[in-house]
């Protein structure tokens, strides 16, 4: 029985978060299962084992939390994210259906129009920040209305989501600083559940409806509201910001996309693969188990490193290359996989593809400036992606 190799470096320092890929490669080279000394947890850095763990929800459970510290896993109890089996299926049946591509079909036109209008305005400016001015635009316009957040509760959503993802990481200084903001978010969720101030017709109202019909206990409502707040903004904003930066810094890929806009869905998948908005989540083993001949005891926390799996040279040839035509881009794990696969990925794709379509339609060339990384325990994102765009002749005429 082989000993599980140990990795001594803390991969959650500021320095590593800014450039994690050399460490991810070292972890992948070390073995299919590794022990992270700094976090005192197992990790699966390669694609095959990450996918296997995600696909075996019976052995690798979410019900004891998917974060990397006990405090956040205690707080997250009762969310769809952190539940198993029948309870999970039930909760997902409440929050999931409103987010499927089918359910969002009626919104497609609106979202595409919003993207087109935003890009048209930014073309007038010429130079702008692809994160603050474009990547944030659609999620911040679309999501609060879709969920039905009361008007008085929207200005904090972004910072609460960022805080939630910091707190979901290891209990380092960054996680500790996030505590008070997460507390505010929880109070907001409890208040909204109690006073029913979610706007009628939205996804949030559907949760209240389910409770009114006895499909949910009253105590189950606030965690489901949290299920909607935390993951719906930062992640999508990260993916869109990353996609724009990748296209701006890879003119040949931008040209390929302009020549064949049918590649847009694949390009968005490829951007999520390379820049994996969520670095990692964890699972806990329900029983003694084995991965590739390595023994993992019951009750062990195993970190799934999506960002590492998505650059695994064993699965993706030239893994660090941005290739909008990559044939297995859709195999990427950035939206997770299996029963806990991201319930919001249909919405994320709708928003991301709409922005890319608007850029392909109206922009001739995108020049990158110097981007700035955001620092978050679990979210990988750009804080700022300055760009200058040159409109197509058609778009320039339309804007004149």
């Amino acid at each position: 029985m082989p000993t599980i190799p140990r990795y001594p470096d803390d991969i959650w320092t500021d320095e590593v978060l800014l450039d994690p890929h050399p460490h991810y490669r070292a972890l992948r080279d070390l073995g299919p299962v590794v022990w992270l000394d700094a976090q005192q947890m197992y990790a699966v850095p390669r694609y095959t084992e990450a996918r296997a763990v995600l696909g075996d929800a019976g052995t690798f459970c979410s019900g004891q939390g998917v974060g990397l510290n006990d405090m956040v896993n205690g707080i997250g109890a009762g969310t769809t994210l952190m539940s198993d089996g029948q309870l999970h299926a039930h909760l997902r049946s409440v929050i999931g259906p409103g987010l499927t591509p089918r359910a969002l079909r009626s919104m497609r036109g609106t979202v595409e129009q919003l993207a087109a209008e935003r890009v048209a305005r930014l073309i007038q400016q010429g130079s702008f920040d692809a994160v603050a001015d474009l990547a944030r635009a659609l999620p911040l316009t679309v999501v609060p209305d879709l969920v039905g957040w009361p008007a008085g509760g929207r200005e904090h959503l972004l910072e609460w989501a960022g805080a939630a993802f910091d707190l979901l990481g290891p209990m380092n200084a960054r996680a500790q600083r996030a505590g008070p903001k997460v507390q505010e978010m929880l109070e907001f969720a409890a208040r909204t559940a109690a006073d029913g101030s979610l706007l009628p017709g939205g996804l949030g109202a559907a949760i209240l409806e389910a409770a009114r019909h006895g499909e949910l206990q009253p105590a189950q409502v606030p965690p489901l509201i949290v299920d909607y707040i935390a993951p719906s903004l930062d992640t999508t904003i990260s993916a869109i910001g990353s996609a724009i930066w990748l296209l701006a810094t890879h003119p040949d890929q931008w040209a390929a996309l302009k020549a064949d806009p049918a590649l847009i869905p694949n390009a968005f998948n490829e951007a999520v693969r390379l820049e994996s908005p969520i670095r990692a989540f964890s699972r806990v083993t329900a029983s003694d188990t084995q991965l590739e001949g390595y023994d993992i005891p019951a009750g062990a926390r195993v970190i799934v490193l999506y960002a590492s799996a998505n650059r695994d040279e064993r699965e993706f040839g030239r893994p660090d290359d941005f290739d909008v035509s990559r044939t297995n881009a859709s195999a990427q794990l950035g939206f997770g996989y299996g029963t806990h696969g991201c319930a919001g990925q249909g919405l994320a794709r709708l928003e991301g593809q709409a922005v890319l379509q608007a850029l392909v339609d109206q922009v001739e060339a995108i020049e990158p400036g110097r981007p700035v990384r955001a620092l978050n325990n679990l979210i990988n994102a750009w804080a700022s992606v300055p760009v200058t765009v040159h409109p197509t002749r058609h778009a320039a005429a339309a804007g004149a």
Binding site: P101, R105, G336, G341
Partner: protein, 65 residues
């Protein structure tokens, strides 16, 4: 020969199966994945396996029929 089944409760209509294996999968008007061949012709088995594998919510299965 192999057959592909769709767990309609799990299927959310993301359409990656249709994108990857358009000869095997189609989303119907309800946005649910439908398998176009029963059983899968041998020449299309590879494509079918790729389509099954790519489903982000593991709603698809392929097995000997």
């Amino acid at each position: 020969m192999k057959s592909v089944t769709v767990d309609e409760n799990r299927c959310e209509g993301h359409g990656l199966c249709q994108d990857t294996a358009p000869d095997i999968f189609e989303l119907n008007d309800d946005g649910v994945a439908v398998v176009l061949h029963h059983p899968i012709p041998p020449a299309l088995t590879r494509q079918a396996e790729a389509g099954v594998r790519v489903c982000p919510v593991a709603a698809l299965r392929i097995a000997e029929s």
